[in-house]
């Protein structure tokens, strides 16, 4: 069983695989360049208010919460 939820709703420590990134062309490409592409493994490090800190392919980035709502992740 698995669910597909936005990155912004994942709990700290939760892992998953990105399935889809919404949003404007520029930002989708930017996230892709940083490794946030469909198929990439992510782990949420911290997420309470403001930006979400996420671990992806060996390093950590913080992304604005609004943006984190547009990254859909398969968890389960």
């Amino acid at each position: 069983m698995y669910n597909i939820i936005p990155l912004a709703l994942m709990k700290p420590g939760q892992e998953g695989v990105i399935v889809h990134v919404e949003g404007g062309f520029g930002v989708v490409r930017r996230l892709a360049e940083l490794g946030l592409v469909p198929g990439a493994r992510v782990r949420v490090e911290s997420s309470y208010w403001g930006p979400v800190v996420v671990w992806v392919s060996g390093f950590r980035i913080a992304i604005g919460r609004g943006l984190a709502r547009k990254v859909w992740v398969k968890v389960g």
Partner: protein, 665 residues
């Protein structure tokens, strides 16, 4: 002496890989900043002699990629193409190698002469990473030099390698990335339409890949020339059937990175770093904010208490020298004009500059420490939400905070913002943050006219008003300045590092030098100009051009209930906002100590409030103007800032006076 051959080497790399440490190590004190025309990006250059060569190193802005996403990226890639460097060196943080290889793959498409520097090998080892340097070099087809820059290990090897590459003594077989059955046929098809190896210096293959990635600058380049019309047409066709090409390309690169990484690095199964543990506290939802407040308080005090004390000391020492000069030499000058120019123009101008330098230096040190240690990124994460309330980018927090001390470091603190546009907004709103000098004048006058409780309310109102203006101006500029770039926060959390003293000293030295060179000339000229206004034609302030200007503006002042004397003191405030009080004592012909009594007689509380509102908002002081000019590198934006704040002050002055007169009497 042997004739020296000159070569140019570009240093590329993602942010936070210790590139500036490597640059400092290579060039030492022989470095300088070069502002690139029209842009807010500063590029450092430095010289190193080695083995009969004079090597010019150009420190490109740190970028994760080479698409036209930010100005930094455009500048980096333009330099690699137009600057024609003999070698490009990519500095990589060995402990986060995987992150950096994405840029490596793109550099390989743009240049044949690449050398990789694996910096921070010691940290990689500590993390348990085993990097097979030879394997990595063989896979990528370029030399790889291990390095520990903070300890100076690996520099000579790098220099030797650079010379070997320049002289063609190393075989380079740069990896050619294949983008698979979906992308490659498209490249072949488009290439058939160009049939050239290079387009405006860019390798054709690279250009086409960027085109397929939807790179705006590349599209514009091709559109500008009719001979590439066909390409744009077929690109638009391709876009109709497969709009996600850029994602496919990025994914393919990441897969390639994965493969290269797996083949050349062995890593422990669970890679948990000390930084992650630290972040659990620093970014903790309860502990994080107080830690931030603590750090920022220390930073603020360091800049404005220690810095100010040093500034006062410098100023004091300077005044001793001045006095000595005036007493012993100036009296021998008979020409009163020259005497006045020196005593009231030149010396005060130096005084303004001298009193700024210690504070600026302290600020730059503090800034470098916060940046170098890696804490800046964490602070940005915590502040992001609050900054959005002000309509600013999360990274602008330090700029606003420093602005409360002085707008000059406040504006300098916008350097962390990666987009030209965000940075411009942060620079232009900063003068509206009331600096300590203005707050000082405000407290003095408010206390004269209001009893303690009301005085507090008035101060709170004034500060709230200014923050409101920051927010409104931010929102306004956000609408007015064309939105080309996406600006929601995306920031890497780099590993924490203990800042290297040597590195910070060098960094600060170079920046202070740049400040003196670029900003101080303008400060100097402005101070002389103001001296001119108050000296000519009669040597008396009351009848000078400045006073005449004040009287000329008096009708305007009437709308705000301000007479020409008040206006003239405001003009004096351009020198430095704390000068307003000194100017008033001259104009009202009183000793500074009894100024309060006089003001109480000539002004009503409402007039005082109006005066303070205008004082808070109207045009930045000359030092701030100079630094706006320096940091935006544009007269247009500098003038806009002046005109905007002046009009805003006028509007608010009129509003305060007229609305206020309905209530306060």
């Amino acid at each position: 002496m042997k004739p020296t051959k000159k070569i140019t080497v570009a240093l590329a790399g993602t942010p936070n890989v210790g590139k500036s440490t490597v640059f400092n190590l290579l060039t030492g004190l022989r470095q300088y900043t070069a502002n690139w025309p029209g842009k807010t990006v500063e590029v450092k250059e430095g010289i190193r002699e080695f083995d009969g060569y004079e090597i010019k190193f150009v420190d490109l802005p740190g970028t994760y990629s080479l698409t036209a996403y930010s100005y930094d990226e455009v500048i980096a890639r333009r330099f690699i193409v137009d600057g024609k460097p003999d070698v490009v060196v990519q500095v990589i943080d060995a402990s986060t190698l995987k992150k950096d290889l994405y840029l490596t793959l793109q550099l390989l498409e743009l240049t044949d002469k690449l050398i990789l520097v694996l910096n921070m090998m010691d940290i990689a080892k500590m993390k348990g990473l085993e990097i097979n340097v030879n394997k990595l070099s063989a896979l990528l087809g370029v030399p790889v030099v291990p390095m520990i820059a903070v300890k100076g290990i690996g520099v000579d090897n790098l220099l030797k390698k650079i010379i070997e590459v320049v002289e063609g003594r190393v075989q380079l077989r740069p990896l050619r990335i294949s983008y698979g059955e979906k992308i490659e046929p498209l490249i072949v098809k488009l290439k058939g339409l160009i049939r050239r190896e290079k387009v405006q210096g860019y390798p054709t293959r690279w250009l086409l890949i960027k085109l397929l990635e939807g790179d705006k600058e590349v599209i514009d380049t091709l559109k500008s020339s009719p001979e590439y019309k066909d390409i744009i047409l077929s690109y638009n066709e391709i876009l109709k059937t497969s709009p996600n090409l850029s994602i496919i390309i990025a994914s393919l690169r990441h897969k390639m990175v994965d493969t290269i990484y797996k083949l050349s690095v062995r890593q422990p199964k669970e890679l948990r770093t000390l930084s992650e543990k630290i972040d659990r506290i620093v970014l903790h939802k309860v502990l994080g904010p107080p830690i931030l407040v603590g750090v920022l308080t220390v930073a603020f005090l360091a800049v404005f208490t220690l810095g100010e004390a040093l500034s006062d000391l410098a100023s004091y020492a300077f005044s001793m020298i001045t006095e000595y000069l005036i007493n012993n030499y100036l009296t021998t000058i008979i020409n009163p004009l020259i005497r006045s120019l020196i005593a009231d123009g030149v010396l005060p101008a130096f005084d303004v500059i001298i009193s700024f330098i210690p504070m600026i230096t302290m600020f730059l040190i503090v800034y470098a420490v916060i940046e170098d240690s890696g804490y800046m990124a964490r602070a940005t994460v915590i502040m992001d939400r609050y900054m959005h309330i002000l309509g600013l980018h999360g990274k602008a927090f330090l700029s606003v905070l420093m602005g409360f001390g002085c707008n000059v470091p406040g504006i300098m603190a916008t350097r962390g913002l990666e987009h030209h546009r965000d940075r411009l907004i942060a620079i232009l709103v900063n003068p509206l943050v009331p600096c300590a000098a203005r707050l000082g004048v405000m407290v003095f006058i408010v206390n004269l006219f209001f009893e303690p409780f009301r005085a507090t309310l008035v101060m709170v109102w004034l500060v709230t008003l200014s923050l409101l203006l920051v927010a409104l101006t931010g929102a306004l500029l956000d609408k007015v300045i064309v939105k080309r770039e996406f600006t929601e926060l995306i920031i890497e959390l780099p590993e924490y590092h203990i800042p290297s003293i040597k590195n910070i000293a060098l960094l600060t030295w170079v920046r202070v030098k740049a400040f003196i060179k670029r900003a101080c000339t303008l400060i100097f000229v402005s101070v002389i100009l103001i001296w001119f206004l108050y000296t000519f034609p009669t040597y008396e302030v009351e009848t000078s051009f400045g006073a005449q200007l004040g009287k000329l503006l008096e009708p305007l002042g009437k709308f705000m209930g301000l007479d020409w004397k008040a206006i003239v003191s405001l003009i004096f405030g351009l020198l430095a906002k704390e000068q307003v009080l000194a100017a008033m004592s001259v104009i009202y012909r009183v000793e500074e100590e009894s100024l309060g009594e006089v003001l109480k007689n000539v002004w009503t509380p409402l007039q005082a409030l109006t005066f303070l509102t205008v004082l808070m908002v109207y045009q930045p002081c000359v030092a701030t103007i100079a630094v706006i000019r320096k940091e935006t590198n544009s007269w247009k934006w500098t003038l806009l800032s002046i005109v905007y704040t002046l009009s805003l002050a006028l509007i608010l002055g009129v509003l305060t006076y007229n609305i206020g007169s309905l209530f306060l009497r």
